[in-house]
């Protein structure tokens, strides 16, 4: 009996099938990773505790009302000015002796903060405040901290704080990561992010 070759399978439609799959994955793909403002919540404390005594000059109060308006240190303010105001508060450096700030460039106003370690930004919002406004305020306050950290990192290590953090998180960075981490810690110790959030008023 004559052996017959198996007939060749027609592969012409393979491209069509592959295209179909391709289009499916194209549609379902989301390449971008999520990003956002990271915060750490304070631990839950069931019983009321005595609040620590903080001098009024070291607190920078930001109030947001239900109409999304800002009241900063008892004065009405537009959100565009908030970053600069917070930056000036942090950079004031009005302390003397133990509390003196050796790197601040502010005017040393006696009614503003003594140094960035002591300075606290307090954010109070209303239950009716819109989330978008709240994020905008958070963003401006974090930006004020970053602005000051950038300046100090530039002065001490010759590159900005955001650049240092970016390099630290970059897996392809070739420099000395341990040294970079120490430098980041130094800056974070110098200018800690002290952002306190009170429970919203109703």
């Amino acid at each position: 009996m004559a052996r017959r070759d198996a007939p060749e399978v027609n592969a012409g439609s393979m491209a069509d099938i592959a295209f179909l799959l391709l289009i499916f994955f194209l549609v379902t793909t989301t390449i971008e990773t999520d990003s956002g403002i990271s915060r750490k919540l304070p631990p839950w404390q069931p019983e009321e505790q005595e609040p620590p005594v903080i001098k009024q000059r070291n607190i920078f109060t930001v109030l947001v009302n239900r109409n999304n308006e800002l009241l900063v240190e008892d004065e009405f303010m537009e959100i565009e000015e908030l970053r600069q105001a917070a930056f000036e508060f942090l950079d004031n450096g009005g302390g003397a002796g133990d509390e003196a700030c050796d790197f601040c460039q502010g005017p040393g106003d006696p009614s503003s903060s003594v140094n960035p370690q002591k300075a606290i930004i307090s954010l109070v919002n209303n239950r009716g405040t819109e989330y978008g406004t709240y994020i905008a305020v958070q963003n401006e306050l974090v930006a004020a901290y970053n602005q000051l950290r950038d300046r100090e990192a530039q002065r001490m290590f010759g590159k900005s704080f955001t650049q240092m953090e970016k390099e630290y998180n970059d897996p392809n960075y070739t420099g000395n990561k341990d040294k970079l981490k120490d430098q980041i810690e130094v800056i974070k110790d110098m200018i800690p992010q002290k952002l306190s959030e009170a429970e919203p008023t109703s």
Binding site: A11, M14, A15, A18, F19, L21, L22, F25, L26, T28, T29, T30, I31, T33, D34, S35, G36, I37, S38, R39, K40, L41, P42, P43, W44, N68, I79, E80, N125, N126, R127, G128, T129, E130, Y131, G132, T133, Y134, I135, A136, Q138, N139, E140, V142, A143, N146, N169, E199, P200, S202
Partner: protein
């Protein structure tokens, strides 16, 4: 009659498409590898606010998502237009947040639990009252690392 006869016009030779499947497969594999399927179907309006002082949130397996916002139009009949919380694939009340965090923790390896982050995907029109309630519940559940997920952009656009 010349020896080198001009070729008669027989049309352009057909381009071989034999390598087309290979190219398409290459693309296909690329997209298969980078695809991340959406874990939850959104049942709430979710227009995130803008911010530019952001940190990236990688390691997707260490993130728990909490959505909040007004129910989408097709659920408004049943659930109204008041902003709600969505956990996994259903609407939830504030008191269910703690339970959700505990059950999410169960599914993760023990040594990874301290690194878990809660991503809050909240619609920009939501009132802060709801967000604060969620935050209080997270504090009770000791899920202290949170991330307000935002879009990249100028934060002042939120005010418009």
């Amino acid at each position: 009659m010349s020896k080198f006869k001009k070729k008669t016009n027989e049309g352009q030779p057909a381009i071989s498409t034999a390598s087309l499947p290979d190219i398409v497969f290459m693309l296909l594999f690329f997209f298969m590898v980078v695809t991340v399927m959406r874990q939850n179907t959104l049942m709430v309006k979710n227009k995130l606010p803008y911010a530019n002082q952001v940190e990236k949130l990688d390691k997707k397996d260490l993130v728990m998502y909490i959505y909040a916002g007004k129910p989408s139009p097709r659920y408004q009949q049943r659930f109204g237009t008041e902003a709600r919380i969505q956990l996994n694939d259903k609407f939830a009340s504030v008191s269910e947040v703690q339970q959700f965090i505990y059950s999410e923790r169960e599914t993760k390896r023990e040594e990874l639990i301290p690194y878990l982050t809660t991503a809050l995907k909240v619609d920009e029109e939501t009132n802060m009252g709801l967000v604060s309630d969620i935050k209080q519940e997270l504090r009770k559940a000791e899920a202290l690392k949170i991330n307000y997920t935002t879009l990249q952009g100028d934060a002042l656009r939120n005010m418009e």
